[in-house]
Symmetry: C2
Subunit: 193 residues, 2 copies
DNA sequence: GTAATTTCTTGCCAAATGACAAGTTGTATT
DNA sequence: AATACAACTTGTCATTTGGCAAGAAATTAC
């Protein structure tokens, strides 16, 4: 088994004995998905949690005009999930779709619960993930309020250049809260500067 | 001591023996604030957590044009805090300001930690509060994306009519993500329907 | 290699929203 | 009661943004 990416990701966030990390990582099952597949579907239960080893995934919802609005873009390596829906075992609020071919590691809800019970470190890791996600959501919310689309674009370009090299701009535009037309205009202007 | 509001609030969210609730509630200290006072200041540490017994409080930030943008409106009874900043003991991201005279109950961070350690129920209560807040933030985010300002206005009017009877419309407008001018126009149109 | 599809840019126009100002109403203060 | 202040509405105008469509460029499929 080769779960080094997952192991180092876990250990990075919460240092613990190597054998413990391996014990947990080995319980994940590798899972491949081609491009444009739905990993999680709105209003369906999330019975598994996922670690994205390679590839790109986005979450999106539909607004009242039927337009897809991208709420998040996930760039490996990271955990991917509707965390609230997963931990509460309630229907998902959003759709999650692969944007490229993806290699994932998955673990069932039951197994997560068992491991939470058996390994305090893993439970603590789960708590950290929850707070991290909460924190990310708050930052995004504040950025949407505070910053202009152009500022959010520049920040994203700096922090996640790899996304711009792999994902269509129309999806990035939707994530930034604007249309692809507007993003195109912003790009034109920022190049001039 | 009269902490019945706090006790019933706690017990409602997480049923536990009455003497336990009382034991915890009695460790909060009553705290009054007049209108328009700052309870939590951006970039300052939050050394206490608050339960709002009566009154109204808002959280706000400044956007890049220097305008105050209301991020939340709290209507008693409820807990009020920058939860992430409090639990991580990091500088607050937002300002919290009383909109009316307020009666609060407060508890210091140290005492919260002690109680988390001593009373598993209280720790569980804290976890529930975290998830509840996370959940509320996600709902708000999705609503801001999905719904028009008018729909958000109507929803809020239905769910929190008491806010409209006590808080200036310009603050509500700012919370809805529009100007007071636009809100005024929306109100005019929705009355006609 | 060619065709088909998707992505990206750009122009034009319409719609929505904000800025500003004026005027009205309501509340608080003395 | 008179004054001052804050809240709310409304009009005008400017700016921003989106919708749509056309065309170029890039990618994918056959």
């Amino acid at each position: 088994m080769n779960k080094l990416s997952l192991q180092s990701y876990i250990n990075n966030l919460l240092p613990m004995p190597a054998n413990k990390t391996m014990l947990i990582a080995n319980q994940f099952k590798e899972y491949e998905l081609p491009k444009n597949e739905l990993l999680i579907k709105e209003s369906k239960l999330c019975k598994e949690t996922y670690f994205l080893e390679s590839g790109f995934i986005r979450s999106y919802i539909r607004d009242n005009n039927g337009n897809e609005v991208t709420t998040n873009i996930f760039s490996a390596p990271c955990f991917v999930n509707d965390f609230l829906a997963f931990f509460k075992q309630q229907p998902a609020n959003e759709n999650f779709q692969t944007l490229t071919q993806c290699v994932l590691q998955k673990m069932s809800y039951e197994l997560v619960q068992t491991n939470f019970h058996t390994h305090p470190e893993f439970r603590e890791f789960g708590r950290i993930m929850l707070v991290t996600n909460y924190s990310a959501l708050q930052s995004r919310m504040l950025a949407m309020i505070k910053d202009t689309a152009e500022e959010r674009y520049l920040k994203m370009l700096k922090q996640h250049p790899e996304i711009f090299q792999n994902i269509p701009l129309k999806i990035i535009a939707s994530y930034l809260g604007i249309t692809d037309t507007s993003l195109s205009r912003i790009r034109k202007e920022t190049i001039l500067k």
